[in-house]
Amino acid sequence: MHSESTAAQVIFGWSAAWVASAIFVAVYVMVVTEKLNRAIVALLGAGLMILGGVLTQEAAIRGIDFNTIGLLLGMMVIVGITGKCGVFQFVAIWSAKKVNAHPMGVLVMLSIVTAVISAFLDNVTTVLLIVPVTLLITEELKVKPYPFLISEVVFSNIGGTATLIGDPPNIMIGSAVGLTFNDFVINLTPAILVVMAATLVPVYLLWRKELVTTDAAREKVMRFNDREAITDARLLKQAVGVLACVISAFVFARFLHLEPATIAMFGAAALLLLDNFQRDAEHQSKNVHHAFAEVEWVTLIFFLGLFILVHGLETSGVIARMAHALLAATGGDRNVTVIAILWGSAFLSAFIDNIPFVATMIPLIKSMAPTFGGAHALLPLWWALSLGACLGGNGTLIGASANLVVAGMAERAGQPIRFMAYLKSCFLLMVLSVAVCHVYLWLRYL
């Protein structure tokens, strides 16, 4: 465990564990307080792990999970290109019309659409695509967009939990543990379907009285021409084709012996090729530049830094000590540990970024394998971590990136979402969803 850290020389002969812990805690504090951009903080922290002598550069690079980075990068490129053709606007308008533009029906439909899209795409991208159409529809319906936006935030975080590629914590867990797309679908999707159904009940009770409109306003939405929302039919066919192939490849990944990053990156390359086929050099240059400009580099750089930081903790033995402490607290009982991870992850993720939290928890849980009888016995712990960390993001307005993105858009649209107002309605929704998962985990695995 300590081989990589001993190759480096820790400054002033200090303990590698202390130096790594100090750097990690400082980074965590900076990320939580948001005084500095999180990519800057993670990169600085990663640099200090090397400069402080906890890791060598080679060890730091070995710590980076390029499978996660590749999967995120590939999917970001695919989504960026797909978003240009208007397919998401089409789906949103089509679904609103399917319920005859009744506000509550629209809210339910858009929430479900958001959850389904979030299961396959990044949550922030999903809300960025759905929220503008929602604002267009609610303006025509003359109803407050607030309940719609809140519900979409909540359902994007719920839907993202359902699959390997829906939320960064799942990508990280899947990559680190070798869990496939199908493993997530078989183990998490059923829980998420129940959570969705359970969450719709309080959503209905909370906002049913506010969602009233006139027949004339509904008629305006019914006149929307959903087919006109498709702005590029050629690109639509290409993007849907590539997305279908990519998702099929995820499903058959084990059979094909392919890692998720290969699938996503190859899918991105294929879509770039199709989108630029037979176009002149200038057009290609512009298109490719635009496609890569859509990538959230800040997130990717944050991941890079974080992987190095966690690797520093791991190689210096801090993670092993934390795992011992957690096991001591739960009495070494696997069932208690699963439930503790579920609720602990949820409450912590409601207030802090779930990505660094999950990055820390992965090696910690891995190190529990000998105690619980091997890697297979850890499966419920991974599901508990995923469910807790992803759903916990719904607890507060700062719990997940999608929440903050929607809050920003709502504010610019003159419909600010306040921290306390969000907390009042959504913290209970989060507790409800985690309680459903508690029962699910108990019945299925414990």
Partner: protein, 153 residues
């Protein structure tokens, strides 16, 4: 050459008391696209643009920063509906529509190349103000520059 040599010192202006409807009427009558808004002391307070009308007529989401709405062909609209919206906004004060950030003011000492660069980016009307006091001195539009270029030919 600086902006001092090019500016139009006597453009049509309005005061902070003007209404949205009143300002629109002036734009229509004069066939111009923007009106500098001054307070009672002659200090420049912002620009009222024809663009403000487009912003009023479009759904909020379409003009929202970061929303990336580039196509509204799926949304039908009638002239009657747009007229109603315009009439309803008529009594509102122009103050509500002022967005100084969109067209930063220039000064008499600003070089002509810098002014052309700003027109290139903003394609509209640049207010010319005194640097320290922001006292309004005039405007610079593409027409002032075109006229001077034409004079020399």
């Amino acid at each position: 050459m600086t902006v001092k040599d090019l500016l139009n010192p006597h453009p049509v202006t309005i005061t902070l008391e003007e209404t949205f409807g009143g300002a629109l009427k002036i734009l229509l009558e004069r066939h111009i696209r923007a009106l500098p808004v001054l307070d009672s002391a002659g200090i420049y307070r912002g620009m009222f643009y024809l663009y403000d009308l487009w912003e009023l007529l479009l759904p909020k989401a379409a003009t929202l920063e970061g929303a990336n709405v580039t196509d509204l062909s799926f949304m039908p609209g009638s002239l009657e509906e747009l007229r109603e919206k315009t009439l309803a906004a008529g009594p509102r004060s122009v103050i509500e529509f002022l967005k100084d950030k969109e067209a930063p003011a220039i000064h008499p000492e600003t070089s002509v190349k810098e002014a052309i660069l700003m027109l290139y980016h903003h394609d509209g009307v640049l207010p010319v103000v005194e640097k320290k006091t922001r006292r309004f001195l005039g405007i610079l539009t593409p027409w002032e520059i075109l006229n001077r270029l034409h004079d020399k030919e």
